[in-house]
Symmetry: C2
Subunit: 118 residues, 2 copies
């Protein structure tokens, strides 16, 4: 396993949450699964700006942290679905707060991003 060079601070609650949720697409994935987008190929299609590989990696991480669980249906064609665990569901207030704030401040943030990049 990869070993971090810089020790992490898991004292502060905020950092613990950020550790689990940070990752470019993790909150989106949780949101998607919560909305019923459960199959990998559906998630890839829904978050099409992200490379499929990245989504797979983040799914594995979310599974490792126990926020989602993976159900493999026997038989063919292959069918895999991800579900939120109870722990995963307990992050929904965070995800919803992020979503709401972002939607309310979309234009403001966009303006500043453009300014900073010009």
């Amino acid at each position: 396993m990869y070993e971090r060079k810089i020790p992490e601070d898991l004292e502060c609650g905020i950092n613990i949450s950020m550790k689990v949720l940070s990752g470019k697409w993790k909150p989106c994935i949780i949101d998607g699964i919560n909305k019923g987008i459960r199959r990998p190929s559906e998630l890839h299609a829904a978050i099409d700006v992200a490379a499929p590989r990245v989504i797979n990696m983040q799914l594995r991480e979310l599974e490792a942290y126990g926020l989602i669980c993976k159900k493999i249906y026997p038989g063919l064609p292959l069918r895999v679905e991800y579900y939120l665990t109870e722990l995963g569901e307990s992050t929904l207030p965070i995800i919803q707060a992020l979503d709401q704030w972002g939607n309310e401040n979309r234009e403001h943030v966009r303006k500043i991003v453009l300014q900073l990049q010009e």
Copy 2:
């Protein structure tokens, strides 16, 4: 200004919020300022696991996004204080949700982090 190579997705509310709040110490800084830790040197002392330079950079970003404002008091000794703007205050529900989830799940997350690193 630095120009990103990979365009960002500012469609989704979640990503907009993450854009503004992601940064290893940004949520901690907002939390700290909210708790009354307003001066740079105090923030450095309070978040002593972070290099002061990083905190300064993140303060500048938070200021650029309009989440905090900087008050420079005239006269000497030098005295600078940061305050949350209204917009900054509007992120507090997110910060509080992060803090709460992290505190409730500290041991669980710690266990898994250790497992992954062994």
